[in-house]
Symmetry: C2
DNA sequence: GTAGAACCTGGAGCGCGCTCCAGGTCAAGC
DNA sequence: GCTTGACCTGGAGCGCGCTCCAGGTTCTAC
């Protein structure tokens, strides 16, 4: 990109658009990933400039942000493809989309629970190591036999 | 495995041991993964029967369980290798291990926070879809123009 | 003793989610 | 008009974390 903020030329359109570089910057996705997502059907074909360069609109960005939330919560590309296909198929698929989201939400809740449980295991281990260090200092340097399972 | 519970022959040892199949069953890891973890140095070389078959001891299992907690919380194999190497190097590495665990714990806390934030985004989306369905029924079948961004 | 299941090793292969590359076209400043 | 950087496409390549395979050995039940 250049300096300033170029209002990208539109293909005879109303709304201001973003180049792929600008979308990459805003979403944190790479250029390649953005093109890959489009090729994979996660996003519908983005509008083009007269010279065939991508011009993203606000709706594209909003959808990408939502996809990122799905990705961050561990949804696979394959499932996101399914979801995107349902969305592209129109309002009649709302029940299916709702079902997918509910299931994903439930799995997410499970994963959060597991992580929290594991977090307490880590805390115990950390406590254990801290105690080991304290004991060591107490006896002024090492103490074979105070070795534990870990 | 056969029926009954065979007390596996020990290599002239004290403690009861487990075969790889039994460890696989208890941990949920596959035979291949268990062998892979050993080859990768995540677990120290497991004891063998006279015929060179693995015989896991309680300490092996405990360590595996802890590794699983690390894995479930998203630690990479490479980091687990580092941790395992420190552990194998003895008590002098306790401060390093503690530092690793603390850092991992902090990252885990971040990831849980992100997941919880995303969970609320999902909840909003679900609410939105539910509302769409309600509206649809209200008007007795469809309603073009009630289409949203998603 | 023998059959069949369980196990061994070294190494190749795989699915996922990108990432990189080659060989071009397009756009903006001078 | 020219340069330089952003962008395009199709397809190959990669790192991770396993998973599978071939070819052989061991264990257990009968």
């Amino acid at each position: 990109m250049s300096s300033g903020q170029p209002l990208n030329p539109l293909p005879g359109d109303r709304e201001p658009t973003l180049t792929i570089a600008q979308v990459a910057e805003r979403t944190g996705l790479s250029h390649d990933t953005l093109r890959y997502y489009e090729k994979a059907g996660l996003i519908e074909r983005v509008g083009r400039s007269t010279g065939n360069q991508r011009r993203y609109q606000a709706a594209d960005l909003a959808w990408l942000e939502f996809l990122l939330r799905l990705r961050e919560t561990g949804m696979s590309i394959a499932d996101m493809q399914r979801f995107a296909a349902l969305r592209a198929a129109g309002n009649a698929t709302v029940p299916d989309r709702l079902a997918m989201l509910r299931e994903h939400r439930a799995e997410l809740a499970d994963r959060i629970r597991v992580l929290r449980r594991n977090a307490t295991v880590l805390d115990h281990k950390i406590d254990h190591y801290e105690q080991l260090l304290l004991d060591e200092h107490e006896y002024e340097y090492e103490q074979p036999g105070s070795e534990e399972l870990t």
